[in-house]
C-alpha cells in the first residue's frame, strides 16, 4: 500500500461526473466541502448545472488536533493528470459510481485501474441502483474477481450520511487488514 506521511491521513474520493463526490465529502467533513464548482458545459456527460473543475476538499479534525484530509477528484477525463498527484500518499480511495449509467462496468474498471488496481485500499460505492437490485453489485464484484481483485462494493446513497460512513468504515477495515497481515499465525 502507499506510504502515508506520518502527519497526514488522506482519503480520496473519485468517480465520474455526477457520482456524488462533493456530496459525500460534505456528509462527513467538519465543514462544507470547499469546491471549485463551475458551470457544467459538458451536459452530454452529466446533466447538472455545476460541476467540480479542480478538486473538492474537506477535513475532519481529530481529538489530538491532527487532521484527516478528504479530497475529491474532478470527474472530467481532461483533468486526469491530477489523479496521481492526489493519489500520492493517500491512505485509501473511495470510488463512487452511478448505477444507472450504461457504462457502469467500464467506469468501474477505469477508476479501479487508475487508482492502484486494488493495490491501494479501496471501496466502491454505487448510487442510483434500482431498489433491491443486488444482482448488479454481484456483476461488478465478479468482473473484478475475474482479474484477481477483491474490493468491497456497496450500494450507497451519498446523501445519506450512514451510507458514506459505511464506505469509510470499510476502507478503514481494509487499511487495518493490510497492517495486520503480520499478525501471529
Amino acid at each position: 500500500m502507499n506510504a502515508v506521511a506520518s502527519n497526514e491521513f488522506k482519503i480520496l474520493f473519485t468517480g465520474p461526473m455526477g457520482a456524488g463526490k462533493t456530496t459525500a465529502i460534505t456528509a462527513i467533513s467538519d465543514h462544507e466541502a470547499v469546491s471549485t464548482d463551475v458551470v457544467n458545459t459538458d451536459l452530454a456527460q452529466c446533466n447538472k448545472e455545476l460541476t467540480t473543475a479542480a478538486l473538492d476538499y474537506g477535513q475532519i479534525v481529530l481529538p489530538d488536533n491532527s487532521c484527516v484530509r478528504l479530497y475529491g477528484t474532478p470527474g472530467q477525463e481532461r483533468f486526469r493528470f491530477m489523479w496521481p498527484i492526489l493519489l500520492n500518499n493517500a491512505a485509501g480511495v473511495i470510488v463512487l459510481l452511478n448505477g444507472e449509467h450504461p457504462e457502469l462496468l467500464e467506469h468501474l474498471e477505469h477508476y479501479v485501474d487508475a487508482f492502484g488496481a486494488g493495490k491501494v485500499p479501496m471501496v466502491i460505492g454505487v448510487g442510483r441502483l434500482p431498489a433491491e437490485d443486488l444482482g448488479r453489485l454481484e456483476t461488478l464484484a465478479m468482473r473484478l474477481e475475474e482479474r484477481g481483485i477483491a474490493l468491497p462494493i456497496f450500494d450507497a446513497d451519498v446523501r445519506q450520511q450512514d451510507d458514506v460512513l459505511l464506505l469509510v468504515d470499510a476502507l478503514l477495515c481494509q487499511i487495518e487488514a493490510d497492517d495486520c497481515r503480520s499478525m501471529e499465525a
Partner: protein, 322 residues
C-alpha cells in the same frame, strides 16, 4: 409463550432502567417473555464490561456484556454496545434464548429423556437446517450446476437457482425464514417451474439467514482449515457490522484460521462460524484444510502505529463504534 429471567449486574441505574423499559416493550411481541430476577436465579446475566464481573462470565449462564461505544468490543459471545436500541436488545436476547433452547435439547438428548422438548419447533428447525445448509452449499459450489433446486416446508416450497444467484419464495414461507422458524428440507433437483408468482431474492440473503441458525461451524467445513474470500460478500444486506467488515477485509487478503478471525474482528467464535458458513453457502469461501496463514510484514512498525491512531481518532469523530 416461554418465560425467561434476566439479571443485571454492575450496570448503571439508567442503563438498567432503559433495559427494563425495553423489556416491557418487547413482552407480548416476542415468543419469549423476559422478567428480571436475582443473579443466582436468572437464566441470563447482563453485565457491565468490568473485570470485577469476570467471575460471572466463568459460570455456566449465558452473559451479555454491555460495553460503552468508546470501549473496545469485549471478546464475549453476546455483547451490546451502549447506548443500544430495542431492536438490538431483541436480537441478542433471541440469540441467547435460542442457545438456551438448543443446549437444553442437547442435554436432554444425552440423558436419553424421551419426553418432548420445550420449544421443539425451534429445535426441529435447527436440526433440519443442517441438512438444508449443506445441500445449499453443495448446490452453489457444484461444478455441474443444476438449473433449479427445491426445498419443501409446511409453509410452501422454496426454489434455488445457483446460476441466477437467486432463490424464489412466497410471502408466508419468506416470513418464516426471516423469523428463523422455517423448517426446510434438504434441496433436491426440481423440474422447470413457473416462478412468476414467487418473489426473487439473492442467494446471499438466504445463506445469511440460514447461517444465523447455526450454533457452531457446520460439519461440512473443516474446523482447523484456513479460509479466504474470493470476493467481498454484500455485508450490508447481511446486517452491517464492523466484525463482518473486518473479517471480509482480512480474508480477501490472506487465508485465515477461525481463531485469527475472532481475534482480529474482536468477536465471538460463534459469529465467525456463522459468517464463514454464510460465505460458504454464497460460494464466496475457499477452504484450505490445514493450511497456515502466511506471516507477512508489509510496513515498518511506526507506520501502522500512526495509522492506528488516525483510524481510532477518525472512528471516534465519525461516531463509528469501536
Amino acid at each position: 409463550m416461554e418465560n425467561r429471567t434476566l439479571a443485571f449486574i454492575g450496570l448503571e441505574a439508567d442503563t438498567t432502567s432503559a433495559c427494563l423499559s425495553m423489556l416491557k416493550i418487547m413482552n407480548g411481541r416476542s415468543s419469549v417473555e423476559w422478567m428480571q430476577a436475582a443473579p443466582e436465579e436468572a437464566d441470563v446475566l447482563m453485565l457491565a464490561n468490568d473485570d470485577g464481573n469476570r467471575q460471572w462470565q466463568d459460570g455456566n449462564k449465558p452473559c451479555i456484556v454491555i460495553y460503552h461505544n468508546n470501549e473496545s468490543k469485549p471478546a464475549a459471545p453476546y455483547t451490546l454496545s451502549h447506548p443500544f436500541r430495542v431492536m438490538q436488545l431483541i436480537s441478542v436476547l433471541e440469540d441467547v434464548s435460542r442457545t438456551l433452547t438448543e443446549s437444553s435439547s442437547t442435554v436432554d438428548t444425552k440423558a436419553n429423556t424421551p419426553a418432548p422438548q420445550p420449544a421443539s419447533r425451534a429445535a426441529t428447525a435447527t436440526s433440519g437446517q443442517t441438512d438444508f445448509s449443506e445441500s445449499l452449499y453443495q448446490a452453489v459450489t457444484s461444478q455441474d450446476k443444476q438449473a433449479l433446486y427445491q426445498s419443501e416446508s409446511p409453509q410452501g416450497t422454496l426454489y434455488v437457482s445457483p446460476s441466477a444467484g437467486a432463490y424464489f419464495i412466497q410471502e408466508p414461507l419468506y416470513n418464516e425464514v426471516r423469523h428463523k422458524t422455517a423448517s426446510l428440507s434438504a434441496l433436491k433437483p426440481a423440474n422447470e417451474t413457473d416462478l412468476s408468482a414467487y418473489i426473487r431474492r439473492p442467494i446471499a440473503e438466504l445463506a445469511w439467514m440460514t447461517a444465523q441458525l447455526a450454533s457452531s461451524l457446520p460439519s461440512w467445513l473443516p474446523k482447523d482449515g484456513s479460509f479466504r474470500l474470493k470476493r467481498w460478500p454484500n455485508v450490508r444486506s447481511a446486517k452491517s457490522d464492523r466484525a463482518y467488515l473486518s473479517m471480509s477485509a482480512l480474508m480477501t487478503k490472506q487465508p485465515c484460521r477461525r481463531e485469527q478471525l475472532a481475534a482480529h474482528a474482536g468477536c465471538a467464535q460463534q459469529q465467525v462460524d456463522r459468517f464463514l458458513s454464510a460465505c460458504a453457502m454464497s460460494n464466496l469461501l475457499v477452504c484450505e484444510a490445514g493450511a497456515a496463514a502466511p506471516v507477512t510484514r508489509t510496513a515498518t512498525p511506526d507506520e501502522p502505529r500512526r495509522r492506528v491512531s488516525f483510524i481510532q481518532g477518525l472512528r471516534h469523530r465519525l461516531g463509528l463504534s469501536s
